[in-house]
């Protein structure tokens, strides 16, 4: 876990120095002031994982992040946003995206059953008063099994 936290701080430092940074400068820049060898270990690990790159600069190596933070965030989100079949997915996502028509019909199905509304949920006007929810086609397949 210690090394994991250090990986995070090292990545943050790399993102803060897009022009590249030497391992010893990076170690000095970190608030926990770890040993340079420790930082080098982490940098090698990060390079192996494809998160950092290095290039020779004289007798040392200049380290950079392999991509900007936003690009990595986008990649971490993509696994859950991908429209690929769930069978291949490496993660268990909560729910896939539906088409706009189905989304409207589902909202209508929720508001169709006011008897089920629990008190305290009325502060969510986005669900109970969307115009398309009121006009959506309810004759389709969106109907409770027992109704």
């Amino acid at each position: 876990m210690r090394l994991g936290n250090l990986e995070r701080s090292v990545m943050e430092a790399l993102w803060a120095h897009p022009e590249g940074i030497l391992a010893q400068d990076l170690a000095a820049a970190l608030p926990s002031s770890p040993a340079v060898t420790t930082v080098l270990t982490v940098l090698v690990r990060l390079s192996r994982k494809g998160l950092a790159t290095r290039e020779r600069a004289g007798r040392a190596h200049l380290y950079r992040a392999a991509a900007g933070k936003d690009a990595f965030v986008a990649e971490a989100m993509r696994e859950a946003l991908d429209e690929a079949g769930d069978v291949e997915a490496a993660v268990n996502r909560f729910v896939g995206a539906v088409s706009p028509e189905v989304a409207a019909a589902l909202r209508a199905a929720l508001t169709d059953r006011p008897d089920l509304t629990t008190p305290g949920e009325t502060h969510r006007p986005d669900l109970t008063a969307t115009p398309e929810a009121l006009t959506a086609d309810r004759s389709g397949s969106v109907r409770g099994g027992g109704s």
């Binding site: 936290n5 079949g85 996502r93 729910v95 995206a97 088409s99 706009p100 589902l106 409770g144 099994g145």
Partner: protein, 328 residues
């Protein structure tokens, strides 16, 4: 010999009549009420089909060596050990043997490939989440506390990605990570977030990824087989329903249904394929519906699964049992 062929052949029925059997099962109302039973049946169909297809080849191959299959297997085993290999087998029998061997190799190769690829993607996902996400305590949900590095118990730990789209998932593994995006935290109220987290933790605890893996391997190995196609569509939805059943106990049906509907709304203009339509509609329907399952259904389904498995299991076990109990 004929007896043993029939025994294994029965297990292949769902595969042979795959289209009809599978689509009946995939659309069945009882399956949605009893997802666990339906998943066991799917597993039995897949396992019985695979073992049965291999078994039929073996039974046919060793037919000329003995009257009964187990003795034929023994004779064949002795021949192989003695270096006389395929003696006594005609061309047809060799073909049957080749069928079984090729099938085993094909299945093992695709299972290995699927496992390696999935594990690699999960490792990458874990790396990204560890680097990028803030760890917060489930009980402090909604409060933007950065509990980075705090040793939280795993059942309260939530990883929050700084992304604007609402996203929730779990990266499975021996130390799973439940991940929410900042967008999901903004979209859902605390009760709905609890529902989402209970759902994801059910996936993680139940190791639903391991359940799914063989079906992913089958889908890679036999993508054109109707029964495989049907399983590929039905099994993930049933696993979601299983996780839903855990979450609805925690949060109630309606809160969970609202969370699903809110999270399933199209995330942007470019995402309008609606591939998840059918499964999501089924999940919301069963949460809002009032009908309950019947108690005898799971028992009947488990019996059917056992019946399906009995043939191929007998073919596997018979030669082993013979050697164990009547050596010589």
């Amino acid at each position: 010999m004929t007896f043993w062929l029939v025994v294994t052949g029965v297990a292949l029925l769902p595969v042979v009549f795959g289209g009809r059997v599978a689509s009946a099962l995939a659309g069945a109302e009882w399956a949605r009420r009893h997802p666990r039973a339906a998943l066991v049946l799917w597993q039995a169909i897949a396992l019985a089909g695979g073992l049965g297809a291999v078994g039929v080849g073996l039974v046919a191959a060793v037919a000329p060596l003995a009257a009964a299959f187990p003795h034929g297997m023994h004779t064949f085993g002795h021949q192989v050990v003695d270096g006389r290999g395929l003696a006594g087998l005609g061309p047809g029998h060799n073909l049957a043997l080749a069928w079984s061997a090729a099938l085993i190799a094909w299945l093992v190769a695709h299972t290995a490939r699927t496992a390696v690829r999935t594990v690699a993607r999960q490792r990458r996902q874990r790396t990204l989440v560890d680097i990028l996400a803030d760890r917060i305590d489930e009980r402090d949900m909604g409060v933007p506390v950065d509990g980075r590095g705090v040793g939280l118990p795993i059942d309260r730990e939530v990883y929050v990605l700084p992304g604007a789209e609402p996203v929730a998932y779990c990266v499975p593994g021996w130390r799973s990570r439940v991940v929410l995006s900042r967008g999901a935290l903004d979209l859902l109220n605390p009760a709905e977030l609890r529902a989402v987290l209970a759902h994801e933790r059910a996936h993680a605890r139940g190791r639903h990824d391991l359940f799914l893996m063989p079906f992913a391997a089958l889908a890679a190995a036999f993508p054109w087989l109707p029964v495989v196609k049907a399983a590929r569509q039905a099994v993930p939805v049933l696993l979601e329903m299983l996780a839903d059943d855990r979450a609805r106990q925690v949060s109630g049906d309606r809160t969970l249904a609202r969370a699903i509907v809110l999270m399933a709304a199209p995330k942007g203009p470019e995402v309008a394929f609606g591939l998840a339509d059918e499964g999501v509609v089924q999940r919301v329907e069963r949460l809002l519906g009032t009908s309950r399952g019947r108690r005898w259904v799971p028992a009947a389904v488990y019996t059917a699964a056992l019946a399906l498995m009995s043939g191929p299991l007998a073919v596997l076990v018979a030669p082993v049992a013979c050697v164990t109990f009547w050596p010589g």
